[in-house]
Symmetry: C2
Subunit: 348 residues, 2 copies
């Protein structure tokens, strides 16, 4: 039995150390990590995966901690993946509170892990998806993926959740504006956190109007993963539902029970309408496409290396002897030809 095989066995047997090691291998793309994830796949599909996103300062960490604690009180096991929005440029971590789950230290049934951006093409969203598979195969009942909802990256990441909750801090007209650019469409549930602050009522009202406007628009129903790169259509819009708006005060725990019950309702709705399966299909299609892109990019990189790297080509472009499109054609034309020749041979 290979080391990785016994690692999987230990993970499946409920050993947290094995779980931690598997996620580390996933995060570092250690040799053999692909096989590990392949083998995890058949053990997945049981957990409820919730994505939590929202702008910095919305109170995500505190809310996620409270959610995790509440699930635990109910006897359920929890895994948390916090996505660290470190800049792709500096590699540094903005999130400085990796040890914030101190209140849960020793309670390994809340398995907490933060993962950071590496700037690689589709890298973080693949790592997150894979880490969630590890938690799911391990047997965690609830998995929470927490990201800062700023850009496309975060949208890609939370889309792998069954249910996406978007946190909106009160009195943040700007934030509600920002939501329009991608986040609104993926929200299954809105959470107005810090609901004890001034402006919370207005924010709830604004959200309600926005949700209403969305449903009145011709694009209603085409939110979420359906319009994504999978290219698989949402199909019928009839089972669309308006995202509920929940008010919480994470610091005191107020509203957390209600949030969990809204999330449970959504999970039931997903199951009852077949939407859970539909989302899983879209997610798998996205996963495959993302892997194909990353793997073919690696193949191109290898070809480029074999040709002595980019520098020589850049020299030619600077000297105006060639240009970027001609360079791309020069490198890829033979690849395309090889692929087509091979395909023809296969089909003969």
């Amino acid at each position: 039995m290979s080391g990785d095989e016994s690692l999987i066995d230990e993970l499946l047997a409920g050993e947290h150390r094995a779980l931690a090691r598997v996620i580390t291998k996933i995060e570092n793309r250690s040799p053999g990590y692909r096989d590990l994830v392949s083998r995890l796949h058949e053990h997945t599909g049981r957990a409820q995966v919730v994505g939590i996103t929202g702008s910095p300062g919305a109170g995500k960490s505190t809310l996620v901690d409270k959610m995790a604690a509440t699930y635990r009180e109910r006897g359920e096991t929890v895994g948390v993946i916090a996505i660290d929005p470190s800049s792709p440029y500096t590699g540094g971590a903005v999130l400085g509170d990796r040890i914030r789950m101190a209140s849960n230290v020793g309670d390994m049934d809340v398995f907490f892990r933060s993962m950071s951006a590496r700037g690689s093409l589709g890298g973080l969203s693949t790592s997150t998806t894979d880490a969630v598979k590890a938690l799911d195969a391990f047997g965690k009942d609830r998995i929470i993926v927490e990201t800062v909802g700023a850009g496309q990256n975060e949208v890609d990441i939370v889309r792998m959740a069954d249910t996406v909750a978007v946190l909106v801090p009160p009195g943040s007209g700007d934030d509600v504006q920002m939501l329009k650019a991608g986040i609104l469409e993926i929200a299954d549930v809105f959470v107005v956190n810090k609901a004890d602050l001034d402006g919370a009522d207005r924010t709830v009202k604004e959200l309600r109007e926005m949700v209403h406007m969305r449903d009145a628009s011709p694009m209603a129903g085409h939110h979420g993963a359906g319009a994504g790169p999978s290219g698989i259509d949402d199909g019928d819009d009839e089972d669309e539902r308006q995202p509920p708006i929940v008010e919480t005060v994470a610091k005191t725990g107020e509203g957390v029970d209600e949030l969990l019950s809204v999330l449970a309702d959504h999970a039931e709705w997903l199951e009852a309408t077949g939407e859970r399966d539909a989302r899983a299909r879209r997610r798998y299609a996205d996963e495959i496409r993302t892997l194909l892109r990353a793997d073919s990019a690696a193949l191109v990189e290898e070809e480029l290396e074999a040709r002595g790297g980019l520098e020589g080509y850049v020299d030619g472009v600077v000297a105006k002897e060639t240009d970027p499109y001609s360079v791309a054609d020069e490198i890829l034309a033979p690849v395309a030809e090889a692929v087509r020749e091979r395909r023809d041979r296969r089909q003969d």
Copy 2:
């Protein structure tokens, strides 16, 4: 002479209609657009390209209009590309003010074009780069690329500018926070617009502190395109400069002259230090890599089609007979083999 060849000739002869048609072909990826851009390349390199980014409401449009008008008063020609931050999900345009340059209507030397996101991999940044080439080859003296500085997409887009100006609205502690996530590193110039509003002084002060902190950090000098996907190192940090902070009131035009002179200073600095050439090299390397990625993704798509599409594979993943990694391997392993075989034959 093909239609496209005469189109290029007309563009080079200064016909705005030809310029507009070329940019439309670029935006729509019309047949032959690659050849068009290839042929433009040798005529580029003269224009000063300024990228303007900043959060919604920072006053970018008004400022860009004023900058364009001021350049025109000085007898210089101007091209403006405004990137429309439409959601990749809805395909709808947020920017509703495409006709806002009405004050310049009839003055075709301010050539204004808005381009919208299409959600395709690297698509918008490639289209923008190509459109800038068209404006540059046409002979525009100044080219302004305006984007909403929210996510990675925008960062990718403004990186193709010689000089990047980041707009910060006053009194926006949150915005200054947001800047940390990628935008700060690419700023050559900061503009505090609406400088007549309360809070402008504080914003200037906060920016100054942040610029200072950046330069004190071990990562100083590794901002900008240098740490990007090109993989080419910035080299020596000695010619780093602190981004100046300019205060403007776009509505009245206050500070616009100073901004233009700061931008001109930056252009001179780029030239004098050799940084202009270094940035051009990084940009070309990025362009080539982006094209290679997009083209190889298209090749994979073609292979997938030849295999009857994704759906069958997704069925297998749902049934747990296979998993996304195994599917990717199955599709790409023969491609990789074909490429390597061909490479070996070439090297024999």
